[in-house]
Every structure is written in C-alpha cells, then in structure tokens.
C-alpha cells in the first residue's frame, strides 16, 4: 500500500470508531444492552489505536509501546478499585484525560513557537487553559473524595473569594489574547499554563462534599471539551466527536445534579454551600423523638405489605449494603414488596448508589428513581431510611427559610410509618435540622447502620422462621 492509502485506511478506522462510540452510548440506555455497548466501545477504540501505530508520521515505536504498557499498568489497578472508590477514581481519570489533552496542546505550541498563526494560537491557548484547570481541579476533587488529610473536606471560603478567582481566570484569558497578538512573547505561555493550574485549584477548593456529584460532572464536561478543542487544533474529527460526546454527557449530568439539588451552575461554582448552613443550624429547639429497638422495627416491617428503603451515602460508609440485601431477601421471602427509592444525589457521583446496591446483588428493577417512588409513597406502609438525611427533609417542601428549600426530596413523610437508622441526632452534611424526625409516625433507630440492620434481620429470621 502507498502511504496515502494507509492514511486513508486509518481515517476509515476513525470513522468506524466514531460509529462505535455512538452505538456504545446508544446501547447504554438500558442495562440489558449496556454490556454490548461497552464491547463495541472497546473494539472501536482498540482498532483506532492499532491503526494509528501504522501512521507514517510515527517513525519510532519502541517508546510508544513502552508508554502504552505503562498506561495499561496504571489503568488496570484503577479499573479494579472498590465500588465505594469509584467517584475518586473517576475524578482522577478526568485529571488524566485533561492532562493528556493539555500536554498535547503544549507540545503542539512548542513545535510551532514562536511562529504560531493567530487562530491556531487562540485554539491552543483555550484548549491548554481548560485542560490545565481541569487537571488540578480534578486532582483536588479526587483528593477530597479520597478524604486525604491535607486536602480540606469542608469548603474553604474567604471574603472576596469569587473576585479573586474571577481575576485569576481573567488573567489566563488575557494571557491567551496577548499570545495571539504577540506570538513572539513565548515566555507568556508557561505563565498562562501556571495561572490555569492555579485557577483549577481555586475552582474546586471552595466546593464542599454535598456538591461533589455536580463538580465531578462539570469536570467531566471540561475534560471532554478540552479533548474536542484539541481536535480543532489538530484537525482531528475523531477527537472532536469523542470530546463532544464526553462533554455533552458531563454537561447533562451536571444539569441533572443541579436540578436535584435545586441549585444553579453559578450557585454551585460561586456560592459555597457551607456559608448558609451555620445560621440555619442555630435556630434549633428541643423536641422529642420516638426511638425503637431492632425487635420493634422487625415486627413493624414483618406486618407491612409495602416497604420502601431509602439509602444514602451513610449506608455505604457503614458498609451496610450487603446486610441491607439480607434484609431485602428476608422481607421478600415473606411476600413483602420491597423497593428502593434512589435520590439523584444519593452517593458521591451521579448514579453511585445504584452501583453500590447492584454490587450487593440487589436486582436493579427494584431500584426506583425519585419521581417514580414518590408516586408510591402514600401507599407505602414503611419507609426505612438508611444513612440518608437531607434528601428526605420535608423542610425542602415546606420551610421557605431552609437552605434546601425547593430541593426535590423523597417524600418519605407520606408513608404510614417512617423509620430512620441514624447514629445520633447530629445534623446531616448540610448541617440542617430535619423535621422528619419529630413527626408522629417517625421512629428513630439509633445505632450503626450495619449493626442495626443485622439485628433486624436476626430478629426477622428468628421469630418469623416459617
């Protein structure tokens, strides 16, 4: 084959790859076809990578093969992490993806510098800035999710923070513009990169734990768009398409997460959640709650027809999902209809709770979206809340003064009996008191989630062993 024919063939594999990517996402629409979607994505990517190795521009292969092996060596352990660690793994992979895109942009710049055409300079500048800020932003997010000691969990805020952050972002953009008009000032380029890296840190540091699902989604979308921009720089359509798909996905997930928390983008990015809470938590009064023992809880569950379990991330922290599965089994065997109500922000990234429950072998057709389960809760005998707090807080519907007012919640208070497994009366992540606990039909089950569920299961299988 002539080199031209080879190039054409490589281009055809890229077109095939794009088709594969689209089918891959299409088949992800349902758990039934999803595995097929992953397979075609793997094939499409594999063929494209293989074909690229035959590109005539690639003159030496040894180091590339070594880099691929190192990449696989890093990728395999990252693909084998525990399901609770998936959010930080995902954040880390956004950092890797953005790093790759930023480095290629930087390499392109220095190959051409100082004679970079204006238009290309603008593209490279934008691409490298978005890529770089995504690298540091994602690393901070991953660190927060991993709960590294030297990265603060709670949002860090100071007066005038937004202005400082915006000023840093503005200087990165000014540096791009300067480079467009004065390509000879090459020393500005590394400064631009550093400013973008700093902005990434400033972007994520003030954002707290409850907003992590939104932040991960946003970083996902930045990583995608930086890849798409790289496609513009390199005139590579396969990168443009893959980047656009990834960026669109991150964007939609961010919108869903924002809606689920009744927040706007700007609010997540520029208004730290931490500030409002303190004032809200102040106005607390002493009220009585009713508590119950595992045996009481077991007998109430045993006499129910319909049970809805609402899990939150606290369930995963207590490693209780496998015990919850046993509870599900023992209740189902008694002929009780057990389903799960999943709030979109349950867990630490979009869809995280579903994965944790699926890992515990709970059938996915029992995992219900918030809107679906809310229609059923008025006919539900028992709503059992495990490790969730704010997403069940009726103040979000009724109390206009509450910081979470307007946030869609799972209407557990409409069930005939509400049981809440909780360590103590301490407020949830957002620091907001939950009026649910003081309702007449609410029973508090104080204790560690895993231990308490275990005791309920024991009680159920002991007494009702028919």
């Amino acid at each position: 084959m002539t080199p031209d024919q080879v190039l054409m063939l490589i281009d055809f594999t890229y077109i095939a790859a794009v088709v594969g990517f689209i089918l891959s996402l299409k088949w992800l629409s349902s758990p039934v076809t999803a595995m097929r979607g992953v397979l075609i994505g793997e094939i499409a990517s594999g063929i494209a990578v293989l074909a690229t190795l035959f590109d005539a521009r690639v003159t030496e292969h040894k180091w590339i093969i070594i880099a691929l092996i190192i990449g696989a060596g890093v990728g395999v352990p990252l693909g084998l992490v525990k399901m609770t660690a998936v959010p930080q793994r995902t954040a880390l992979s956004h950092a890797f993806g953005a790093l790759s895109a930023a480095l290629i942009g930087i390499a392109e710049y220095y190959v051409a510098a100082p004679n970079v055409p204006r238009f290309e300079m603008a593209e490279i500048g934008l691409e490298v800035v978005i890529g770089s800020l995504t690298v540091t932003g994602s690393l901070i997010a991953a660190g927060k999710l991993q709960e590294l000691k030297w990265i603060p969990q709670r949002p860090i805020v100071y007066k005038g923070q937004n202005y400082v952050s915006l000023a840093v972002l503005a200087s990165a953009i000014i540096l791009i513009i300067a480079l467009v008009f004065r390509p000879d000032l090459t020393f500005l380029f590394p400064i631009m990169v550093i400013v973008a890296l700093i902005f990434g840190i400033m972007l994520v540091t003030p954002i707290g734990g409850a907003d992590m699902p939104t932040v991960i989604s946003l970083l996902n979308s930045y990583a995608g768009f930086s890849a798409a921009l790289l496609g513009f720089v390199l005139q590579s359509k396969v990168l443009v398409v893959a980047g656009a798909l990834d960026g669109a996905s991150g964007f939609i997930l961010s919108v869903i997460m924002c809606k689920a928390m009744n927040r706007s983008f700007t609010n997540v990015l520029f208004g730290a959640f931490g500030q409002v809470q303190v004032a809200a938590a102040g106005a607390k009064e002493e009220r009585v709650v009713k508590s119950a023992s595992p045996e009481d809880a077991a007998s109430i569950l045993a006499s129910a027809n319909k049970v809805v379990i609402v899990p939150g991330y606290g369930m995963a922290v207590a490693q209780a999902q496998h015990k919850v599965r046993e509870l599900y089994d023992v209740l189902t065997k008694k002929g009780i209809d057990v389903r799960f109500g999943i709030h979109p922000v349950a867990g630490r990234m979009p869809g995280h709770m579903n994965v944790l429950l699926a890992e515990a072998d709970i059938p996915y057709d029992k995992l219900m979206e918030m809107d679906v389960i809310n229609g059923d809760l008025p006919q539900t005998d028992v709503a059992l809340i495990i490790g969730a707090n704010d997403v069940t807080n009726p103040a979000a519907r009724t109390d206009q003064g509450s910081p979470i007012y307007g946030m869609p919640i799972i209407d557990v208070d409409k069930a005939r009996t509400v049981m809440v497994i909780k360590r103590s009366m301490a407020a949830g992540f957002a620091g907001i008191d939950n009026p649910l606990y003081y309702l007449n039909q609410t029973l508090m089950l104080f204790g560690d989630a895993k231990k308490f569920v275990t005791e309920i299961v024991q009680s159920l299988s002991g007494s009702g062993g028919h």
Partner: protein, 98 residues
C-alpha cells in the same frame, strides 16, 4: 477564519447535539457507568498522543507526547475495565439463583 475550523465546528455541533439526545436516554440507573464509559471513549486522545510522540519534532514534544500516551491509555484501559465490572453487577431478580 480557516476552513478546517468551520468543518470542525460543524462536526462538533452535530456530535454535541447527538450526544445530548443519546445521553438523555441513558437510564439514571447507569449514570456512573456512563461517566466511566464516556471517559474511556474520550481517551481516544491517545491517537493524537501517539502521533505527537512518534513524530520526533522536538525532544520536548516527544516527551510530552509519551506522557500523554500513558495518561490517556490508562484511562482507556481503566475506564472500560471498571465500566465492564459495574455493568456486570446489574442483574434483575429473575436472572439470579437462590
């Protein structure tokens, strides 16, 4: 404005709209696998990294390219692997023993 830019923009707009329509149809059940899958697909950046690293334009561009090859390929391998693991856990009640 260069002609390449316009054609890239065409492709980008079409792909973004297609992406939005496709992603909207993904069940919220699978949003975590969705993110790891798109991450793996996005790692196709590795093909650009391979070209940069293989071209040997400058020693710097080769080194940066090689790091980019490793970084994006780790995403490709890790992303597909974890998506596969997650999806294999999603079962219906009927399909399981006991």
């Amino acid at each position: 404005m260069p002609a390449d830019f316009i054609s890239s923009l065409f492709v980008f707009i079409l792909a973004a709209f297609l992406g939005i329509e496709l992603i909207k149809r993904v069940s919220p059940l699978l949003h975590t696998p969705l993110m790891s899958l798109t991450n793996a697909l996005d790692a196709i950046v590795v093909v650009a990294a391979i070209i940069i690293a293989g071209q040997h334009e400058t020693s710097l561009s080769t080194k940066l390219g090689l790091i980019a090859v490793a970084a994006s390929f780790s995403n490709m391998v890790g992303g597909f692997l974890i998506t596969d693991r997650m999806l294999s856990m999603f079962k219906t009640g009927k399909g399981k023993k006991a």
